[in-house]
């Protein structure tokens, strides 16, 4: 019997994988992919609570799905800006290795 717990553990797994990608990768695009995984995990949580959460029986509880839509829009905006910045950095330095981008350090 699949319940709320299964969805929560699944999205925890997805978020942990995203954190591993963000911390271990050096390529900026791989880091962006990790962020997308985490955003998907958060959105999955919202929808799971909207499906299984405590509300009046028989009526849908759609606030979680509205927040899922907001998360998708924010992810699209974030990906567009991040890729614009990444391509600008690539043009300027011909590398998108995040470990080499340390010109702000003293």
């Amino acid at each position: 019997m699949v319940g709320l717990q299964h969805y929560l553990i699944l999205s925890a797994l997805l978020a942990s994988l995203g954190i591993i990608a963000m911390v271990s990768r050096r390529n900026a695009i791989s880091i962006l992919m990790g962020v997308e995984l985490i955003l998907n995990a958060a959105s999955l949580n919202f929808v799971a609570f909207s499906r299984f959460g405590a509300g009046a029986a028989g009526t849908p509880l759609l606030g979680g799905q509205v927040f899922g839509i907001f998360i998708i829009v924010l992810a699209a905006a974030e990906a567009a800006i991040a890729l614009a910045i990444i391509i600008a950095i690539y043009h300027a330095r011909s590398s998108i290795n995040a470990d080499e981008l340390r010109s702000l350090q003293r």
């Binding site: 942990s16 954190i19 029986a57 998708i72 699209a76 567009a80």
Partner: protein, 170 residues
């Protein structure tokens, strides 16, 4: 009936998690990007399984049709296609795996310690019209804020790209 829904859940969970592992651990950046396709589709399937039909379609349209193409474009644009290897297994990677494991085990221990409400007795019904009503009544302010944000992103992306062309022409 119930077992069929459970079986579909496990299939979608596998379709979500296994390619996500490839995204995180693959040495080839192009394989990571294409595996993200399956992860995002699996999440869309889970949305549909939970009765969020509008959100599932939005996920396919925006994520699979838009963001993934954008990421693939970025990968192809910034890498030499025959030189897509990312990095070797390093000490940094082991530390990252340990961090992820700690986060996952702590989250699971919290999730397991709470008595969640079990089966949902809520009927699955179309959500689009209700979501539209919510967006224009209760969530009007975030809706307007996010439209302003999209305008800012549109202008910002153009500005970041335009400056690059000017620098190249000089």
């Amino acid at each position: 009936m119930q077992t069929t829904a459970d079986l579909i859940f496990w299939i979608f969970a596998a379709v979500t998690i296994l390619p996500a592992c490839v995204v995180v651990f693959s040495r080839n950046l192009l394989y990571s990007a294409f595996s993200l396709l399956f992860t995002l589709s699996g999440v869309a399937g889970l949305y549909a399984l939970m009765g969020a039909d509008f959100l599932a379609v939005t996920q396919v349209l925006v994520y699979v049709g838009g963001i993934l193409v954008l990421i693939l474009f970025g990968v192809m644009f910034t890498q030499k296609v025959y030189d897509l290897r990312v990095e070797a297994i390093s000490f940094k990677r082991i530390r990252a795996a340990a961090l992820g494991l700690v986060v996952f085990t702590s989250l699971v221990s919290v999730i397991r310690s709470v008595p969640w409400p079990q089966a949902s007795d809520r009927a699955v019904q179309p959500t689009s019209s209700e979501i539209g009503n919510l967006l224009l009544s209760r969530y009007l302010l975030p809706f307007e804020a996010i439209s302003v944000l999209l305008l800012v992103v549109l202008i910002g992306a153009v500005v970041v790209g335009k400056k690059e062309v000017e620098e190249e022409s000089h």
